[in-house]
Symmetry: C2
Subunit: 334 residues, 2 copies
DNA sequence: AGTCTGAACGTAAACGTTTACATGTCTTTA
DNA sequence: TAAAGACATGTAAACGTTTACGTTCAGACT
């Protein structure tokens, strides 16, 4: 082990015969220091194995270089790989800018979510990127005075920056594709409509139907909890109304749908067509390969992080709202 | 918006007519305070919308309540869902103990990894849980003076705490199962053997063969980069030596294997049996459902976090080494 | 010779907590 | 009634940086 005592900038200063200010300035390059002194300081830092204390720096400079990402990301059961890709995107730009990422899981529940926000406290983070669990909550009073950017979903009446996916257009496109193949009884399955995404997706679905002169049937629209089980059970009820196609807007629920079909030996797409949400490598080797809507998850993260950094740089700049387009990938399941 | 000025413990103290010490103590419950004063302080905190400054707290108390997890976890392409489940496990116990989790991605590359460790600096984290990219590196000089626990993999000559999976036993079991079904030409495909996991897995494979009196053939053993592409290409070369079964010890590479089989219309398990690593929901709806080795990923995370917290609590306690057992799940692909 | 300018660096006050130590006020006891 | 304890709180020094000001000193200009 090395020296157990913690080495501070003071020790370095003493060892190099300079002031703490000088040491700080050579570390940060924040004012001119002669080559000679620089060398001495670096030498001293090496000799003593000095390491910056980020906490002290944060306290004084009021910047932590930490961004939090709060989403239903880690819960083991309802594993939503979508948000993991988003996290990867966020991380990639944060890293380039020497920021850290702390991950918080909302469990898709308002209570957990509020807890997490509280735990983040103030000063600990420079910004929060979040996918809110509900669009009906008032989050504002929970936040500290860091910037917040909403990702994937936006609460009502928010005037924060946000970056989301254009769910309506692509959903409409997916349903139109099904209609084009002759389907008239198209079921719709999704998570709770406390999410803005759900709202948009159902809107796209309905618009496609109505433009094709097909009357929407409430029996064919099923909205429930986001879980594999729930996906399975809701499929069961939907099937009683004999759809010829099913549009499921969540990849976790989609697994429930596929389990059901597999178990009941209902062949896809012969007996029923399936269109799901979210593209992952495995959707290509399911049986049959799934037709999916590919969301730009990584890019969503990248954009959100970029917006965040800009906002940090310039608190007063106008609100940004980005709407990325998703992509329909047609494979054998439809 | 609320007051833009930052409220400190001093403001609260003044507003409640007590000292900062008292405020601190009611916040932390660290010494007796009369009910009356408590009320006053809470009132003041509410009135002023006070929020703890965790950074200042960390600086003074020398504890950040932050644990970092460093693993090849977020890289978008080589997405390793295994480590995400691990992260979920870690998070679940950290959360209960009011710790935060910061995620760092090593990209499975030594350089990235070293960078990340340096970026964590000192004092910023109370501990580091990591899955080292190589067993041959000397990490010790990179670490600060926080505890480190190795997860899933262990560098040579480490005397740190660690929690890993018993890869050898379960790999042997899997290969024995294949042998039991009459297979004699069993291919082995895995990531680089700079990983301890690879070492153990190949050992299990070899031991099963040798105990069954089957001679190992180096042409049937393929070791390469962990990626989908690499999995695909290595399968291609392996197939030239006509294996009747293939044991692939990484889920990302396994996708490459399955793509290959699908593309070449090689039917599984009729023409070749496949056993893969890591159980996820989707392995059940692939075509055919995959036989896999199910690693206790979540539990791995839980254990690692528990060990971490114990170590923080008691720096002097004896080294812990945990070896969790994995589970062979036999399905149609074998 | 005095003043000025710029280069290079030093001094010390913050940042917002925690915490060792000190203080004051009651009650109890001899 | 004075000393002793218990009870409840206050004082102020840290923690390790950053940074607004000050300082020193050498050379250039009047």
């Amino acid at each position: 082990m090395s020296d157990s005592k913690n080495i501070s900038i003071k020790d370095v200063a003493k060892h190099a015969n300079v002031s703490t200010a000088t040491v700080s300035h050579v570390i940060n390059g924040t004012r001119f220091v002669s080559e000679d002194t620089k060398r001495k300081v670096h030498q001293a830092m090496n000799d003593l194995n000095y390491r910056i204390n980020f906490v002290a720096r944060s306290l004084r400079s009021r910047k932590s270089y930490v961004i939090a990402f709060l989403a239903p990301i880690l819960a083991s059961e309802t594993s939503n790989y979508f948000f993991m890709s988003v996290a990867a995107g966020i991380q990639s730009v944060l890293k380039q800018n020497h920021y850290h990422l702390v991950l918080s899981d909302s469990h898709e529940e308002a209570e957990y979510e509020a807890d997490e926000i509280r735990m983040l406290g103030s000063q600990m983070i420079d910004g929060l990127i979040m996918a809110p669990a509900s669009r009906e909550l008032d989050y504002e009073h929970l936040f500290g005075d860091y910037p917040v950017v909403y990702l994937d979903r936006v609460p009502n009446n928010s005037n924060r920056d946000c970056v989301v996916v254009d769910n309506k257009t692509v959903s409409k496109e997916a349903v139109q594709m099904l209609i084009g193949k002759g389907h008239k009884r198209i079921a719709y399955l999704s998570g709770p409509n406390t999410l803005t995404t759900t709202e948009e997706r159902v809107a796209g679905y309905l618009e496609a139907l109505s433009e094709a002169g097909i009357e929407a049937e409430s029996d064919l629209i099923s909205i429930g909890e986001v879980s594999l089980d729930s996906g399975y059970k809701l499929t069961e009820s939907l099937m009683r109304h004999e759809p010829t196609a099913i549009f499921v807007t969540d990849n976790v629920m989609a697994m429930g749908v596929m389990f059901y079909m597999q178990e009941k030996k209902i062949s896809v797409p012969e007996q029923i067509a399936v269109v799901a949400y979210d593209e992952f490598q495995w959707t290509r080797i399911t049986s049959p390969p799934l037709t999916v809507i590919e969301q730009p998850a990584f890019e969503l993260g990248v954009k959100a992080a970029e917006v965040m950094l800009e906002r940090i740089d310039n608190a007063g700049s106008p609100r940004q709202e980005h709407r990325l387009t998703a992509n329909l990938v047609v494979r054998q399941s439809s």
